[in-house]
Symmetry: C2
Subunit: 167 residues, 2 copies
């Protein structure tokens, strides 16, 4: 099955996870939406933790916070999406913006006609929540607590904002 | 991140999916269990469909039903689990038994202490339901309707029974 990249498998499953998080029995409206986001973010967090725990010991003794963030942009993105983020900005005060101009989950989402009638903002939240958790969980396992939010800039581009929580 | 195989990523997400399917708000007891299985099987079905739809056109013009099943054992298993099934048996009347002596989802499950107190049968159903759907969905997209069930023989070994529905 050479045409079935493992990223495809992961992305197909992610799509189903998003659909299930908003499926029947989860309620609707704002409350159902928030519950779905919480579930997705939590799943991403634990997957991020799992990935970080499987890293070779000693490979991640970053001295600088910025090095850890660069690791996310390059290595985490590489492992999960098969590429790097397109841009990284920081205010040098613990806030980092990771930009992806062609985010795979959004590219895929755009193919799914069932979603096209919903508002881009809601869509974006649904398809970015898992990855927010993924970033937060990976960072947490590397000893850095953070809050991560995301927004769609212009489909399929998006940015993730990581705010480090100072001890 | 060379140590992060993509299979790992997929398996980590699968674990979270199973946990979410049985998490808070889904009810408990037999009814909750059945609902969880239905959700997982349905997700597997749609992922299987998605994988099959991404195959190169013409690559799957199998003449014999058995060839299609062998494709599952070799190529589908390879794409999803990075190996082949260990054994395939058939009664030559449309029933096939795919055996895996070290099924990755069960290996991983055995590591999770939170599950150790539950009965192996229930565990097995929870961790095999997605893959039952995966087989059924892939077959469906290849033009073969089937029913697929699975059972744990002895952890982490299991077998999947595919019964082809004759037209």
């Amino acid at each position: 099955m050479p045409a079935m990249a493992d990223e495809t498998l992961f992305q197909l499953l992610h799509t189903q996870v998003v659909a299930a998080a908003y499926g029947a029995g989860r309620g609707s409206g704002d409350e159902g939406l928030r519950a779905g986001l919480t579930v997705l973010e939590g799943m991403g967090f634990r997957v991020g933790q799992g990935l970080a725990e499987r890293l070779p010991q000693g490979a991640l003794a970053f001295r600088e916070e910025l090095d850890t963030i660069k690791f996310l942009c390059r290595d985490l993105w590489g492992a999960v999406f098969g590429k790097q983020t397109d841009n990284l900005r920081t205010n040098h005060q613990g806030t980092y913006i990771l930009q992806d101009n062609n985010f795979p989950f959004l590219t895929q989402m755009a193919w799914g006609q069932q979603y096209l009638e919903e508002a881009p903002k809601v869509l974006g939240e649904q398809f970015l929540a898992f990855t927010c958790g993924l970033l937060r969980g990976t960072l947490s396992s590397l000893g850095i607590e953070s809050s991560v939010t995301a927004s769609v800039t212009s489909l399929p581009a998006c940015k993730f904002q990581v705010v480090i929580q100072k001890a």
